[in-house]
């Protein structure tokens, strides 16, 4: 019985969430959308809090118990973060904020020097003549020249005129061509998300397509009715 309630609840509420959120496509405000949106935000906040706190209890607390005194300081610094909620203790919360900003920026940047800069130079140093087919020569030459042209588009402190202006324009055009390519690639990626979602919907593992369809019909009809006949009620039912 409890298990039934569980499956049916997930089916119905899941459908309400899914189609409530799809309703934004219609461009019409609907209480179902508002419900789905707020329920999603609420549970999402809750989930983050639970898993983060669980990490503290599962990993950090045993280490403190195990006699790692330096972790006690970490926990104290973490707790100091909570002082941010009051104006009088706000300055104390700046210590952990400074620490996490400085460490976060530091560990990110030091590795980026290699992965983002040095290794990229290495990958751009391509043999233009010598070895390889004519096609290789053409593509290597294109890569090198495109890199040069696009870079000129990203110079901000030099006045763009003369030959630099031509290079800048070519760079900009290459960039737009690249945007077209990337749009198409991204489109395909997003399409994967839609077909993935539709697959789950059309071939549900926990099936009752009829229930889903009934729920959707109810949602569509109520929204339509509210819109046509009871605009005041609709206003009352949606948040400001």
């Amino acid at each position: 019985m409890v298990m039934d309630l569980y499956t049916w609840g997930i089916l119905i509420l899941g459908t309400v969430t899914t189609f409530g959120l799809y309703m934004i496509l219609s461009g019409v405000d609907s209480p179902w959308f508002a419900f789905a949106e707020h329920a999603f935000v609420g549970t999402a906040i809750g989930l983050t809090v639970v898993v983060s706190t669980d990490y503290i209890f599962r990993t950090i607390v045993p280490r403190v118990m195990g006699g790692e005194w330096q972790m006690i300081i970490s926990v104290i610094l973490g707790l100091m973060m909570l002082l941010r909620v009051s104006k009088s203790t706000l300055h104390l919360a700046r210590i952990p904020i400074t620490l996490s900003a400085a460490v976060g920026v530091g560990i990110g940047v030091r590795a980026q020097i290699f992965s983002g800069i040095i290794n990229q130079i290495r990958a751009t140093i391509l043999p233009i003549f010598g070895g390889g087919s004519a096609m290789d020569v053409v593509s290597n030459l294109t890569i090198v020249l495109s890199v040069l042209f696009v870079f000129t588009y990203f110079f901000y402190t030099t006045e763009i005129k003369g030959p630099l202006e031509t290079a800048n324009k070519i760079g900009r055009n290459i960039l737009y061509l690249a945007f077209g390519v990337l749009f198409a690639q991204t489109y395909m990626g997003r399409l994967g998300l839609l077909t993935g979602r539709m697959t789950l919907f059309l071939f549900p593992t926990n099936p009752n397509l009829y229930v889903t369809l009934i729920v959707i019909t109810v949602m569509v009809v109520t929204t339509w009715l509210l819109h046509k006949n009871y605009p005041d009620l609709l206003k009352k039912l949606t948040p400001e």
Partner: protein, 289 residues
Amino acid sequence: MSFKILWNIDRRIYYGLLFIIVSILLLNPVGMPLKISPEVKNTWQMIDDLQPGDFVIINFCLSASGYAQLQGACNSMITHIFEKPGVTVLFMMVSDQAPIMLEEIITINGDLMPGKTTFPWYEIRGKTYGEDYINMGFYPGISNFIAALSMNFRKSLGNTDWYGEDVTDFFESHNIQSAEDVDMVVSFDSDDGAGDFMRYFFLEYGTPVIQSMIGVMVANSKVQYDAGNYAGIVPSIRGSAEYQFLQNYPGMALTQMDAFSAVQFYLMALMIVGNLGYHFYGKKQQEKV
């Protein structure tokens, strides 16, 4: 006059048609041919070359949305790794929605161990929980955590798994002490989890990193793959379909490819319609204004 209609199509008509096309082709797949790209073949080979005694981290930086797309890659790659004899596996997540999705993957591909009724006690392709694989669950702070993991491997992970079981024996019996003992990292990403593994594991210890990522990340990951930062990539749904094909794993990724082709032609058709509308009607209207 007819071009006026083309210029003023309501976007809801676009949406409705798209919905219908996808539904029809998913329900009645045609079965179009598929070419295997070299990078997926290469990645498949790398996983196939895993030796007994190798230790693999499988990381999820995947939200529920990305799972809908990478389902095929998750299932086929994970079973491939689990089919290699003597390989030990550690699951970890840096996305808070991932634990519940991993449980689904395990239920699909594994069976409960005899005498057990709950998670984590599942057997997948002959590997048993606690001996051949463990699930360490979620850790906060994506890049910061992975950095900490590379420096202080055992302590960052802790001794209890996601379900509160003590897993000290697992690490000791397989002699896993530091990040240098990791032989491969596989990351399923809808955020840049593999990028962090690449920066802190590959650049530090040379650990090969394989990424399977959602569509929007493909362009960036390809650049990293070409620069030699990633050892392998399985890009989005197409990569998933190819991997499923190589692995002979039955699944939806292959059937989704039909809907793919059709919708891309649909977009091209819309582009033509939009251009006709613009050049024969909209342009004049805009010039008038």
